[in-house]
Amino acid sequence: MKLELTYRETAGKSAGFWVLLGGLGLLVAIALGATLYMEHEGHHVTGMSNQIIWGMPHVFAIFLIVAASGALNVASIGTVFGKALYKPLGRLSGLVAMALLMGGLAVLVLDLGHPDRLIVAMTYYNFKSIFAWNIMLYTGFLAVTGIYLWMMMERKMNKYYRPAGIVAFIWRLILTTGTGSIFGFLVARQAYDAALMAPMFVIMSFAYGLAVFILVLMAAYKWTERPLGDAILYRLKNLLGVFIAAVLYFVMVYHLANLYATEHHGVEAFILRDGGIYTKLFWIVQIGLGSLLPLAMIYHPTIGKSRPAIITACILVIIGAFAQLYVILIGGQAYPLEMFPGYEVVESSFFDGGVNTYSPSIWEIMLGMGGIALAMLIVTVAVRVLRFMPETLDDATVDPHAAKSV
């Protein structure tokens, strides 16, 4: 059956709209202020050092970049896998994906020692560097998704939208493979150097991106007073459950493989048992609050049907995501480089052999929050000026067949 859908811009006249816009704008302005301060003073005002090289900005940036590719999944399921139910969400999915990526890239670039040399990063390429490949994958993603959106939204181009969707889907898989490989290719550090990082990041993107997308969808429909039916919402939250379980599986395989190899016992003991904040973040926040609790909530026969519970589950998944990335990034660097097997370091002026400490500065967090705000600002403005959101997503419109059974 052909879906008769009307997409319409949001009215954007309410006080709430302007408050939202103003609030997000303020967060972006604060982030720019923090960046100016950090770049003017130098990174000594941050918590980052020559021991903890990448810090809070990278946690935010990688969350946003990984979530971006995941947010596109909703469109891909409709276009590539032909699931009719997801098709009305395609435009919003593409938009959220692009917005998240822009937010993430902004944070990543503004944390550079030389953001002013962005043009250098665009003109000098070392093709052996996975980082250089990522620069191309990120800009390419924006282009590919942009074209995909155009073909979805422009009636004359509709006939090409499936091939465009397939390209975008493949591109996003390669992109997250690239992001995971930033860590997977680091042979020097005990916590990284695993091919599994690439598929694990892909599956993490599924969960993170969908959690963000569900929240954006629910907020957008609630605030614009458009109907959002249970059929589509329950389908999405059930899918989120599958993705959470898949992430858990990959995390388990990663740690099991490391636990088997004696050379990795040190780093495993650090993350899983002795790592203080990292151990707590791993077990309590990432596994407990960020995975098991939302999983239980989503599949609970009654709680799973409550909208506040679905919102809570999505927020928990995002909190868990930040914990997971913090443990991977900061925990992985806090554990010392193992340079001298069989020896212990008695003395070093450069903190060899010791666990490195890190406390993020307020500037780094401001910059990271600004990235999230920028992404949301882009979505808010885009749905106001272009037709991304169907007027209604009630059960009868979305899936008349499912509507009867819900």
Partner: protein, 255 residues
């Protein structure tokens, strides 16, 4: 006129004596001198891969508590105690091009002391991962950072197995002309490339010799007659994290 002729004759005579002496020295030198001194390229020629500069560190001779090599590097390249302008960065943020590390073997309690710096790997992870190519290796094996195209992403620091690289966390003053240090870029040991290119020896090696410890040898790893090659051939030498197969230019003995 005759005076003039005499002068020319003198020139000729001097020329002939000097060239024949040089020729004689050159022909018997390999026999007389057991090692050939490190010879660098003339200024107007590019670096070639006919040489591979390296440093051998004999940990048996490296004195526990001695930091002459570190101090010499600081003074030569203007960092650490030799550059008070790096005052806002805390100890974890300050740059360190070379450091002394003391190790104790867990099973025997044997204590080893050694200097640790950029290992100038043949297949350097920092060079592989650098997105712009700012991190590069010269044909003669010296790994450097091009400060003009370093964007300060610090991926090289993530990739280095030796924590040899430092990021500059603030504006610095009083820099050495041969070792520019810019806020927001990454730096590390240059093997005193400015000295090496002028037939010199890295400051750390020189300082170690001056202390009479003679724990460090600098030279061309490809030259079979160089002291470093002879030492390595005779006594062997280990690489830190040899498991990574990076073929480092800095080698250790007694590790």
């Amino acid at each position: 006129m005759s005076e003039n002729r005499n002068e020319i004759d003198q020139y000729r005579r001097r020329f002939l004596t000097q060239t024949s002496a040089a020729a004689a020295a050159a022909s018997i030198a390999p026999g007389v001198f057991l090692t050939t001194p490190a010879v660098a390229k003339p200024d107007d020629q590019g670096v070639t891969n006919e040489k591979r500069w390296g440093i051998l560190i004999d940990t048996h001779k490296c004195a526990n508590g001695c930091t002459s090599c570190v101090t010499a590097c600081e003074e030569e390249n203007g960092w650490g105690s030799a550059n008070p302008s790096e005052s806002h960065s805390d100890e974890t943020q300050k740059a360190q091009w070379i450091r002394k590390v003391s190790l104790k073997e867990k099973s025997t309690g044997h204590v080893v002391s050694l200097p640790l710096m950029c290992q100038h790997c043949e297949t350097a992870p920092c060079v592989d991962v650098c997105p712009t190519g700012a991190s590069f290796k010269r044909a003669d094996g010296i790994v450097l950072v091009d400060k003009h195209i370093c964007i300060g992403c610090r991926y090289c620091m993530m990739a280095c197995p030796y924590k040899a690289r430092s990021f500059i966390h603030e504006d610095l003053k009083d820099q050495k002309p041969w070792a520019p240090r810019g806020k927001g870029t990454v730096e590390s040991c240059t093997m005193c490339v400015h000295r090496v290119d002028k037939d010199g020896t890295p400051a750390c090696v020189e300082a170690c010799n001056a202390e009479n410890h003679k724990a460090m040898f600098f030279g061309d790893l490809y030259d079979k007659n160089s002291e470093i090659s002879q030492q390595l051939r005779e006594h062997g030498g280990e690489q830190i994290r040899a498991d990574l197969g990076l073929n480092t230019g800095v080698r250790y003995r007694g590790l």
